[in-house]
């Protein structure tokens, strides 16, 4: 194996093992920042040793042993240089936790629990969403600072600072390495799911031709989601989120045209949908639905995505089923954007007039006043009803509101087409 090969293998080992390593170390040293430092030192040792000795049979255990021994060395040095009474609290605890210089050979039986705790810490509500995202990609995903920076289109020093500050915040607040108490579990889990879905959407929003680290975020989010589903198998919304991501990801290869232009769901070539991912999505959806009588937001969105996935052709879509799901989702969230999507579904299932009535209510409500999709949807429904003058006006309104040049051009085209109907 060349040195480059070994380095690439070490990169792969790091991506696979680092989260478990940091989690196990955090349980012992009670500080995520220190745990990561120890883990990084073990990685440096591996980079130095493995090109000579070869990749060990159990790379995870090797890294853990090295990190542990490094911690004990630090402790010895601190002892020699200082009075025993001056030892910091965490060093005393480390001594208790690490004991002697023994080799780790067995899989840590706490590992699943530790990893779950680490996820909760990385997504702690004390941290900003951006900080949670960066910390999760780093500690759970094992991405380097440079990789995270490329993935989220932010400068590397900014990401580095974000991570440093996040760890400091957690340390200062003395966030415990425990699972959240029962009464907080739902909200804390929601925080974790929010971060995972944010990472997924960051990846999904990437267009062809952008840095490949960006669409790779979809894979990263999916992997973290699937791991979480194994760690918290009785949480229905976890399976719901995984199902939603699997099914959305199944459309990745179908949503760009030959020139890289976006292709809408109803116009996509469904032969390009990844059926393995769709199948996994259905399995996750079933797991989630089996756990609860009342579906949460992710499960409902996943169920809607599954309706689309089930239709081999766009014309096979079960819009009545989708409408019922949107009814439930709208009641649950009270979100005007969901209500707009519900209007689209109602129009497909029960005719454009019924859909239009729902958008009238949204217009009166005023919540979506700057949102280009409201007039865009209204325009489409009006055109389908043959009300071309009003449709043209709404297409015009939508074109003014959108930031996207391509979309503006499309809306202008549709306005012109309405104009032609009027003059003919």
């Amino acid at each position: 194996m060349t040195v480059t090969d070994v380095h690439r293998t070490i990169d792969a080992v790091w991506r696979i093992e680092s989260a478990h390593l940091i989690a196990a170390l955090t349980r012992r040293v009670r500080d995520v920042g220190l745990a990561e430092e120890l883990a990084q030192e073990a990685l440096l040792s591996a980079l130095e040793a493995w090109p000579r000795t070869g990749i060990p049979d159990n790379p995870g255990a090797w890294l853990m042993t090295t990190a542990k021994n490094r911690a004990l060395d630090q402790l010895r040095r601190a002892r020699m240089l200082a009075d025993k009474h001056a030892l910091l609290g965490h060093e005393l605890e480390m001594e208790q936790q690490f004991g002697s210089y023994t080799v780790e050979t067995q899989v840590d039986q706490h590992i699943g629990d530790d990893l779950l705790r680490l996820m909760f810490i990385a997504c702690h509500p004390l941290l900003s969403t951006q900080a949670r995202t960066a910390l999760t990609l780093r500690l759970i995903g094992g991405l380097t600072t440079a990789e995270i920076a490329r993935a989220v289109l932010t400068a590397e020093p900014t990401i580095a600072q974000r991570i440093v500050r996040a760890k400091r915040t957690l340390r200062d607040a003395q966030v415990p390495f425990e699972l959240p108490p029962r009464e907080e579990l739902t909200s804390r889990l929601a925080s974790v799911l929010e971060v995972i879905y944010l990472i997924f959407n960051e990846g999904y929003s990437a267009t062809a031709g952008e840095d490949w680290m960006r669409p790779a975020l979809c894979e990263e989010a999916l992997r973290i989601g699937r791991i979480l589903a194994e760690l918290a198998p009785r949480e229905s919304e976890v399976h719901g989120l995984v199902a939603l991501m699997e099914i959305q990801a199944s459309r990745l290869r179908a949503r760009s045209g030959a020139q890289g232009e976006p292709v809408l769901l109803m116009e996509q070539n469904r032969a390009r949908w990844d059926r393995v991912l769709i199948h996994r999505g259905f399995l996750a959806l079933a797991r989630g639905e089996a756990l609860t009588a009342v579906r949460g937001a992710y499960l409902l969105q996943a169920a809607i995505a599954a309706c689309h996935a089930r239709a081999f052709a766009a014309t096979d879509t079960d819009w009545v089923a989708i409408t019922a799901l949107y009814d439930e989702l709208a009641r649950l969230t009270g979100s005007p954007v969901v209500e707009l999507n519900r209007a689209v579904a109602v129009a497909m299932a029960y005719g454009p007039a019924a859909g239009l009535a729902l958008t009238d209510a949204l217009l009166e409500g005023g919540a979506l006043s700057g949102y280009h999709l409201l007039p865009s949807v209204r325009a489409d429904l009006l055109a389908r009803l043959g009300r071309y003058a009003e449709a043209r006006a709404e297409f015009g309104r939508a074109a003014l509101l959108t930031q996207n040049a391509r979309e503006r051009a499309l809306l202008a085209q549709r306005a012109a087409a309405c104009g032609q109907h009027l003059s003919s």
Binding site: R8, D11, A12, V13, R15, N58, A216, I227
Partner: protein
């Protein structure tokens, strides 16, 4: 990216095992699959039974052939379909596979057959 790990056993090896040894080998692979599932990379995996039937061109026409195919040096003993970030990652998982002790593991990326 999806990778297939194919477990290639030496032909005849299975019949040299005691039932206990066979069960043990299977259990090791089950445990391994469970670890892969915990890492969020397992799409599908299973062992393949020993009985094999072939269908293909023989003596100029398509026909069925019944096993065992003792002239083959290898028996495909099982498969794992993994979702990995890189081919190096698939290789790391192959290294950790218990079957590496008694078989050869072939790693193939999923893709077109014409490149």
């Amino acid at each position: 990216m999806a990778y297939m790990l194919l477990i290639l056993e030496p032909t005849g090896q299975r019949s040299t095992r005691t039932p206990a040894q066979g069960h043990d080998a299977y259990q090791q692979m089950l445990d391994y699959s469970a670890r892969l599932r915990q890492r969020g990379v397992l799409i599908a995996s299973d062992a393949l039974k020993s009985e094999a039937v072939r269908f293909g061109q023989h003596n100029g026409h398509a026909q069925r052939l019944d096993g065992p195919f003792t002239e083959s040096k290898e028996l495909i003993g099982g498969f794992l379909l993994l979702d990995c970030h890189t081919s190096e990652e698939a290789l790391v998982f192959a290294r950790e596979c218990p079957a590496a002790a008694w078989a050869t593991i072939e790693i193939r990326e999923l893709g077109t057959c014409y490149e």
